[in-house]
């Protein structure tokens, strides 16, 4: 039983998880204040014979305080978040040495195109594999997302990567995996009756293993 976010598996996971935790603490404090306040008031101010409510229309000072503190907190949160948002999603943030893969989403499969031994996407030695994403650990990867039909969404939880694949658009999502191993892709946008079955497997290799895998695929292997 998992009670928290998935294990961190990319360079994005650190900042995102830290931001998540920070928000959890801030909202947690707010929640405790409100809920404890509610319970306290419910007990302390319940009607009893001979009691009277305190007649007041409010307090401007209180309004200023509880407007200013949330406002300042939200602005700060926005500024910090935006720094990472730009890093993760802006086209200009994609490292120029990123390894490009094509992921073509369709009802109900992920067709992954690899650049082949020459490392260049769009050349004759490219090959396509169904539902399997193979990448090298500790290297920036850029996934060029396209869609055949409906809107799908490329989602790998351990990498904290999610990007919709929209028909008619060519969208690049980048990341850098930090852990080798096997993970999964899920489709995160309802795309029809087979939406739940759009599962892909992700393999994060060491550089040597990845080269070996590419060579084997190029030679017509079926693994």
């Amino acid at each position: 039983m998992r009670w928290w976010l998935p294990d961190a598996g990319s360079t994005f996971a650190g900042p995102i998880d830290t931001l998540f935790l920070a928000i959890l603490i801030i909202t947690g404090i707010a929640l405790v204040v409100v809920e404890v306040g509610l319970v306290t008031f419910v007990i302390k101010y319940r009607a009893r014979p001979g009691r009277k409510a305190f007649y007041t229309h409010g307090s401007t000072r209180a309004e200023v305080i509880w407007t200013a503190i949330p406002a300042v907190t939200m602005v700060a949160l926005g500024l910090i978040s935006n720094h990472y948002w730009v890093l993760m999603k802006d086209k200009k943030s994609i490292p120029p040495n990123a390894y490009h893969l094509g992921v073509h989403a369709k009802q109900f499969e992920w067709l992954v195109t690899y650049p082949g031994p020459d490392g260049k996407l769009g050349t004759a030695d490219d090959f396509t594999v169904r539902n399997q994403l193979h990448v090298t650990v500790n290297e920036p990867i850029a996934v060029e997302l396209t869609s055949e039909d409906a809107i799908h969404s490329f989602f790998v939880p351990e990498w904290r990567v999610k990007q919709d694949a929209v028909p008619g658009m060519h969208i690049t999502a980048w990341f850098q995996a930090t852990k080798t191993g096997e993970f999964e892709i899920g489709c995160a946008e309802l795309c029809g009756m087979g939406h739940y079955k759009m599962r892909g497997r992700v393999f994060v290799h060491t550089p040597e293993d990845y080269k070996a895998w590419v060579a084997q695929q190029a030679a017509g292997g079926t693994e």
Partner: protein
């Protein structure tokens, strides 16, 4: 801005002195705002039941994937096979659950019922500004609901692209499988939009023009303020959805390609149009709830609302900001990331007026003399759970954190905390509160208390764990989480949620029983059973046709003068009570045309 209304409401209102009406004119094709409100109440509660039945099937499949649904044998082969819910039926379930709950349950319960019922009563009017248009507003809403319901019975079944109907899935039957029903969806939405706009026109005009003498803007109860602002949102937002629905219909019928990238169209256009409507829509779904909760908490606390003016400005602030946050539904959509930054800012800011409201409710209860009648219990429950729902929204507002959370069960948890924990609990407060005014009887208090506590417990058992499975990565709208290795460990929690949901649904039969039983057997209500200050409590229960006609009440003070020193040994002081020190308000001069 006029500060008082004419002494006699202008144009179109019935007064009490017309010929006796037949049963059909009185109860079926009525133009009386109170009857129309009650009609909305019965029809919307029916659609709430429909939405709940759909949810039970969803929870069955999610908790026990691929197991035959008990009683599933009654469903046709297109929906279940050997009793097992089919994937194409599952996505119809999630689509129609959202559709019915948003458009045909919560929105009409909050607006169709309470804008209609409360606005003239709380402002001292005899009826709405345009009673016949009001009647049309109800009948169009009913027709729209029936059209939407018919989708399940059409060849190829109901729409299934999610209640958000993203194109191109929704525009292309070859991708979704839904044919006729998808077109009916558009028609239903257009008809519903007409109903909404007609209603809004009434609510806005009545609030501006038909206030009793002394009822200045800042003496209006917060329920009326909220319904007024909501009506402005609706009249501006619904037409956008209608336009989008028509464009979608055209893509499917007359060969347009608005959303078809193969012919120069843009799938993202649908999302922008839908959410430009959709975000104001969720404020339509919460503001009336907040307004009514304010009235009820002030009553239950025996204290004025804390920060009345701030509360008004917060309502206006939420409504205004609500127009510029829609892109937060589209952070992952592929739109320019710079828009993600701008929408993040506006979205984080909209948390502020909501926070102001929560603190003011707390301030109202602070040092009050709290009465825990059933409406007050549910109103406090609203504050407690709306807070959770609002705070969970902050996670998604921070765009990097939205990356793992978007389109997961975390969102489903958030939206249910604000729509069920929020709006529906507010309705569980409002329905018994104004029940005596509608039906002349009280709902049973004991059953109401049991219903509140059981609902509160099972509600949190159902929806709080959804945050956790969402964090774990469970995507929305998936038929079988156990397909994924990373989700299998969470399946016990899915089962727990399903059992809790079944219990939650079962408990609602207490409410349904209470509602129906009390119509005939409820304790007869005294005139002002809650010792409230609103104008409506100066009328007998149930309120008579024409309200105060031919007279109009005078208003001497604000709506929340509980425990005012002038009240003497009573702890409430209605707006309509004239103290020796009060002067009669001066009615506005009648226009020359009268």
């Amino acid at each position: 801005m006029t500060s008082v209304a004419h002494a006699k409401p202008a144009g179109g209102a019935h007064d009490a002195h017309h010929a006796p009406m037949s049963f059909w004119r009185k109860y079926i094709f009525s133009t009386d705002h109170k009857i129309i409100g009650i009609q909305f109440l019965f029809v919307s509660l029916f659609f709430l039941l429909v939405g709940g039945l759909l949810a039970m099937q969803i929870r069955w499949q999610l908790g026990f994937p691929g197991k035959p649904l008990p009683g599933g044998g009654i469903l046709p082969e297109s929906m279940v096979s050997g009793g097992v819910i089919l994937p194409e039926y599952y996505i119809q379930l999630v689509t129609m659950h959202g559709t019915f709950m948003v458009f045909f349950a919560i929105m009409p319960l909050l607006v169709g019922v309470y804008a209609n019922f409360l606005i003239p009563l709380k402002l001292g009017g005899h009826d709405m500004a345009f009673p016949r248009i009001n009647m049309w507003s109800f009948w169009l809403a009913l027709v729209a609901g029936l059209i939407m319901l018919s989708g399940f019975f059409m060849p190829d079944g109901a729409p299934r692209a999610g209640w958000t109907m993203y194109a191109p899935l929704s525009a292309r039957p070859d991708l979704s499988g839904a044919t006729i029903s998808q077109k009916l969806w558009s028609i239903s939405i257009v008809v519903l939009g007409l109903s909404s706009v007609m209603g809004s026109v009434n609510y806005i005009t009545t609030v501006i023009n038909h206030r009793a003498p002394g009822m200045t803007w800042f003496r209006m109860p917060l329920s009326v303020w909220a319904l007024f602002i909501t009506a402005i949102l609706a009249v501006l937002a619904l037409p956008v959805l209608q336009g989008a629905a028509i464009m979608l219909l055209f893509d499917q019928t007359i060969g347009t390609h608005f959303f078809d990238p193969g012919a120069g169209g843009q799938p993202l256009l649908w999302q922008h149009l839908f959410w430009f409507f959709g975000h104001p829509e969720v404020y339509i779904l919460i503001l009336p709830a907040m307004g009514m909760v304010s009235d009820i908490i002030a009553n239950g606390s025996r204290k004025p609302i804390f920060g009345y003016h701030s509360m008004v400005f917060a309502i206006i602030g939420i409504a205004f900001l609500g127009w510029i946050v829609w892109g937060h539904h589209m952070f992952m959509s592929g739109m320019n990331p710079t828009l993600g930054s701008t929408f993040m800012v506006s979205t984080l800011l909209i948390a502020v007026p909501s926070a102001i409201k929560v603190f003011n409710w707390l301030g109202t209860m602070w040092r009050g003399n709290l009465r825990f009648h059933v409406p007050m219990l549910n109103a406090i429950g609203f504050v407690s759970m709306f807070t959770i729902g609002g705070l969970s929204g902050i996670f998604m507002a921070a765009t990097p954190v939205d990356i793992p959370l978007h389109d997961t069960q975390f969102i489903v948890a958030h939206l249910h905390y604000v729509l069920f924990g929020g709006s529906l609990f507010a309705l569980f407060a409002a329905i018994p509160y104004w029940y005596p005014k509608m039906f002349g009887r009280m709902m049973h208090e004991g059953i109401g208390k049991v219903h509140f506590w059981l609902t509160f417990v099972f509600y949190n058992m159902t929806f709080f764990p959804m945050h956790i499975i969402g964090m774990g990565g469970q995507m929305r709208r998936i038929y079988d989480p156990t397909i994924y290795d990373f989700l299998k460990p969470q399946q016990p929690l899915n089962e727990f949620i399903s059992y809790s949901a079944f219990a939650l649904f079962a408990v609602q039969f207490l409410f349904a029983f209470n509602f129906l039983w009390s119509l005939k057997f409820g304790k007869k209500a005294s005139q002002n059973p809650w010792e409230d200050n609103g104008l409506e409590w100066s009328l007998p229960n149930p309120a008579p046709h024409g309200n105060w006609a031919p007279k109009t009440p005078n208003v001497y003070r604000g709506p929340y003068e509980f425990s005012a020193p002038e009240a003497g040994d009573k702890d409430y002081l209605p707006q309509y009570t004239k103290l020796p020190t009060d002067r009669d308000p001066v009615p506005a001069p009648l226009p020359a045309t009268h």
